[in-house]
Every structure is written in structure tokens, then in C-alpha cells.
């Protein structure tokens, strides 16, 4: 297979994962200006839920995915009610300190329970191997990732662009005070959005294991990528997050393939260029 197609294919699959793991943060950051650095801990939780259910209880891979979603959603809503809620009117430094603390707690908890090794995970046979298509060699799991994330993206976009719930979320992101003044219960709306975002992160984390691996450092490693996606994509913009995640996924894969020596810096260069070109994000509205 010509490398450029392989790199693109892997980059898109990777970008899909990044999108799932970051879209919730983009929306909630845009809506409440709350900097939740613990967002990737929800993704990590989803990952551990899936490996536990599969390895310890013998659940099939697909059956674990809804549970990973629910785990991410429940964990995020519990943290929101217990801690985050009190910090909405606080400054960003306090929010960062609180949530980075939660990241370290989640890392320590994961290491305590599961150890620091990579978690083994056996994909079902029908998701293994690759198919050959016009001379291309396409890994089945990555194809599945792209299809699944594309489907979720469509559902998400339809929900946000075509339903009243979506219009209320966009209105609250746009002008929270006016939304409240028209009778929209922004706090409850935000609770739902927060749970949805945490759930998607949990699902993304579960889907990520087979491609990115899973160990306790996951919550911090991918936080960097998620933050880049959110800042490049623009707060509260689904389309922006999607484009930024694709760009980052492909750039990272291309860097690793073509200039391995530079690969760890390349994404930061991409981010720098994008932020200088579009300070409020690709599709940023403010």
C-alpha cells in the first residue's frame, strides 16, 4: 500500500478517537467556561471498565461499550455535582488546580488497582486482521473505528443542530445570561451536556485501547491531545473539534512515519501555526 494512504487511513482512525474524547470538553468549556482537565480521566475510566468486563467477567467487547459510556457519564455527573459546580464562578487557575488534582488521583487509583502495565485486550476475531481493497491493506478495527465514530458524529450533529435541546445548548454557549433570562434552565442543561460529554469520552477510551493501549498515564498523555483539539477547533464548535481532531490525528501519524525524529514536536508546531492563524479556533465563534 502506498504509505500516504496508509498514513491517512491511520490518521483518520486516530483522529476519530481524539474527536470522541474531546468533543464533550469543547462543548462544556464553551458553555460554562469551566476548564475540566480531568476530561481524559473519564476516557481512561471507560477503558478500564471495558478491559475489566472483558478480562475478568468474560463479557463480549461490544457489550462493554454501553457500560463504558455510562461509566464516563455517571462519573462526570457525580464530579460535577460534588466539585465542579462550586467552581463555575471561580477563576481558571482554581479550576485547573482542582481538575488536575482529580487527574492525579485517577492515575494513582488506576495504578493502585491495575498496576502500571499496559492492559492486555483481545479484540473479537471479526475485528482483527485486515481486508484488501484495491491494493490497500486496511485494518478491520480501524475501519470499524472510523465507521463508529462517523455514526456518533452524525447523531451528535443532528442532535445539536436539529433539536430544541441542541438549540438550547448552542444558545447557552452563545449567551448564558440571555438563555437564563428566556427561561432555559442552563444548570440542568449543562448537567445533561456534561454527562453526554463524559459518556462519549468513556466510549472513546474503550474504543482507544486496541489502538493506543491503556495504562494509568492515559489520563495525562491524551489530555494534551484533547486540549490541542479543543483550542484549535474553537470552543463549543463540533465541526471545529472534528476538523481539528482529524488534522491532529493525520499530522501525528505522518510525523511518526516520515520524520520520526521530530514526531514528538510536530503536533505542537501544528498547534502553534493553527493558533496563530486562527486564534479563536478553526470555526471559533468568538
Amino acid at each position: 500500500m502506498p504509505p500516504v494512504f496508509g498514513v491517512l487511513f491511520d490518521g483518520i482512525a486516530y483522529g476519530m478517537l481524539l474527536f470522541l474524547m474531546s468533543v464533550g470538553l469543547s462543548v462544556t468549556l464553551g458553555m460554562m467556561n469551566f476548564v475540566n482537565l480531568a476530561h481524559c480521566s473519564f476516557a481512561m475510566l471507560g477503558g478500564y471498565v471495558t478491559v475489566t468486563l472483558m478480562n475478568a467477567l468474560g463479557w463480549p467487547f461490544f457489550a462493554t461499550l454501553p457500560v463504558a459510556f455510562i461509566a464516563g457519564a455517571v462519573a462526570s455527573i457525580v464530579l460535577e455535582r460534588l466539585f465542579f459546580r462550586r467552581f463555575y464562578n471561580s477563576n481558571e487557575l482554581n479550576q485547573c488546580l482542582l481538575t488536575i488534582g482529580i487527574v492525579f488521583v485517577s492515575i494513582a487509583a488506576a495504578a493502585y488497582i491495575y498496576g502500571t502495565d499496559q492492559q492486555p485486550m483481545q479484540l473479537p476475531p471479526y475485528l482483527q486482521g485486515s481486508i484488501h481493497f484495491r491494493g490497500l491493506d486496511l485494518a478491520v478495527y480501524r475501519l470499524f473505528l472510523i465507521a463508529a465514530a462517523a455514526l456518533i458524529t452524525i447523531v451528535l450533529v443532528v442532535t445539536l443542530e436539529w433539536t430544541r435541546f441542541g438549540a438550547q445548548v448552542r444558545a447557552a454557549v452563545n449567551n448564558q445570561r440571555m438563555a437564563r433570562g428566556l427561561g432555559i434552565d442552563v444548570d440542568t442543561l449543562f448537567g445533561f451536556t456534561f454527562a453526554l460529554g463524559g459518556g462519549l469520552a468513556g466510549l472513546g477510551g474503550a474504543l482507544a485501547i486496541a489502538m493506543l493501549g491503556l495504562d494509568p498515564s492515559f489520563a495525562l498523555t491524551y489530555l494534551i491531545y484533547v486540549l490541542i483539539v479543543v483550542s484549535v477547533g474553537g470552543l463549543g464548535s463540533i465541526a471545529g473539534s472534528f476538523a481539528a481532531a482529524m488534522l491532529l490525528g493525520v499530522a501525528d501519524m505522518a510525523g511518526e512515519y516520515y520524520i520520526p525524529a521530530l514526531s514528538s514536536v510536530l503536533i505542537y508546531l501544528v498547534m502553534l501555526v493553527m493558533i496563530m492563524w486562527r486564534p479563536s479556533g478553526l470555526f471559533g465563534r468568538r
Partner: protein
């Protein structure tokens, strides 16, 4: 005394620790109308925001249909029947005109059809986004959006401010039509005191955060000397 729609009892309000309004007391009956006059910066918008629950209240009580709402959250007040047209319009730029109208709509006699009848220009612009509108269109949308919540009390904060004279006439006519039916109460803040007084039953004049005059709109409109003294009115201009 008939049951009042909205009553303020000795309310003190402001932002944070800063007091802007003090000793505010007034009553508004069901379907009543009130002009809120006063020079720039005296606290008219702050009074509107206080009705919406968006300021800090230091003392006093706000009563809505016999129920104390002094500590109610803004969205509860909106749902109880208060419709707010903000001075800065605050259109949702990320929503289309039609989404702006439906996003918080509640059932009642105002629906898409009747607000489009009132403002035909909004119907033409229904698929445009909020930030693609002229100032006059934004103001029409802000009013229509509040009407779509079918409020028992409509708060209009300087709806004619900063608009071209021709648009002012068009909007004033629409406001006259909409309020003339007397189907809901409204409070109108307006620099054009003559327009505000001709549209309302009673008037409050505020100066440095306190009520300095309260009475019938018609009487104040006829008393040029008082008007000039209270609001420095430029009636001749209008």
C-alpha cells in the same frame, strides 16, 4: 385592592457590593403598563435586571402574583411569565432567526405565525443567522423572541435606541399594535419620553437610583415643565 401582577417593596439592588437602586417601591396590575424614565445611567436597566433576578438584592421584597420571588433564579421568573427584551438585544448569533424564536418558546397566543405577522421582515430572514441582521431587525427579533415565551409581563429596555428614524416609526407602530391589545402587562424603558408616555398608563421617573416621580402617564405628558425638570426631555426633537 386588586391582586397585583408585580410589586416591589423597598428594594435595594446593585452589582456585587455596589448599590445602584434603593427604596424602590411600585405596583403593576395585571395587564397594566408602566413607563420607566430617567437620564442615562440612573439605573433603569438595573431595575429591569432586578425584575429578572440578575442583580444582587440588599433588602426589600419582589412579589409576583402574590408570591415572593425575591430569591428566585432568572429562568424561574422567565417561566413564571416575565419576558425580557435586553437593552443590548443579545440575539443568539449562533442560531438562525427561527431558532432564536423557538429555542425558549412556550405555548400561548404568540407563535411563529403571529410574530411573523407582527414583523414580516423576520419571516423573510428566518434562515439567516442572528449576526447577519441589521440593528432594527435584531430589535424586532429580540421583541419577537420574548413574545414567543408568551409572557404575562413584557420588559422592553430601550427598544428604539440607536435605530434610524424610519425604523423607529416602524417599531413604535409594532409596539403600539402589540401592546394596544392589552393582553399582557409591559414595562417600557425609553429615551423618547413622549412615545413611552403615550403608550403607557403610568410612569416612574428614576434619578440616581431612586424614584423621584410616580404618576399617570397622561398627566406627566401634559406637564411640560415637570417633564423637562425630571428627564431633561427634548420633546421638540421627537
Amino acid at each position: 385592592m386588586a391582586e397585583m401582577l408585580l410589586s416591589f417593596r423597598d428594594v435595594r439592588a446593585g452589582y456585587g457590593a455596589g448599590i445602584v437602586l434603593d427604596a424602590i417601591t411600585f405596583d403593576l396590575p395585571e395587564n397594566g403598563s408602566l413607563a420607566l424614565l430617567g437620564r442615562n445611567g440612573v439605573g433603569k436597566s438595573t431595575l429591569i435586571l432586578t425584575i429578572m433576578g440578575m442583580t444582587q438584592i440588599g433588602r426589600g421584597r419582589i412579589v409576583w402574583r402574590g408570591r415572593d420571588i425575591t430569591t428566585d433564579a432568572p429562568h424561574r421568573r422567565a417561566r413564571a411569565g416575565i419576558g425580557w427584551v435586553a437593552q443590548e438585544r443579545e440575539i443568539f448569533s449562533a442560531l438562525t432567526v427561527e431558532e432564536n424564536l423557538t429555542v425558549a418558546a412556550r405555548p400561548g397566543r404568540w407563535d411563529l405565525k403571529s410574530v411573523y405577522d407582527l414583523f414580516p421582515r423576520l419571516a423573510e430572514r428566518r434562515r439567516n443567522f442572528g449576526n447577519q441582521l441589521s440593528g432594527g431587525e435584531q430589535q424586532m427579533l429580540a421583541i419577537a423572541r420574548a413574545l414567543m415565551t408568551n409572557p404575562a409581563l413584557l420588559l422592553l429596555d430601550e427598544p428604539l435606541e440607536g435605530l434610524a428614524p424610519i425604523v423607529v416609526e416602524e417599531l413604535a407602530a409594532a409596539i403600539r399594535r402589540m401592546t394596544g391589545e392589552g393582553a399582557n402587562a409591559f414595562i417600557l424603558v425609553e429615551q423618547h419620553a413622549d412615545i413611552a408616555l403615550s403608550l403607557t398608563q403610568s410612569a416612574l421617573v428614576i434619578e440616581r437610583g431612586r424614584i423621584v416621580h410616580s404618576g399617570a402617564s397622561a398627566a406627566l405628558l401634559a406637564d411640560h415643565a415637570a417633564l423637562d425638570r425630571l428627564v431633561g426631555l427634548r420633546l421638540a426633537e421627537a
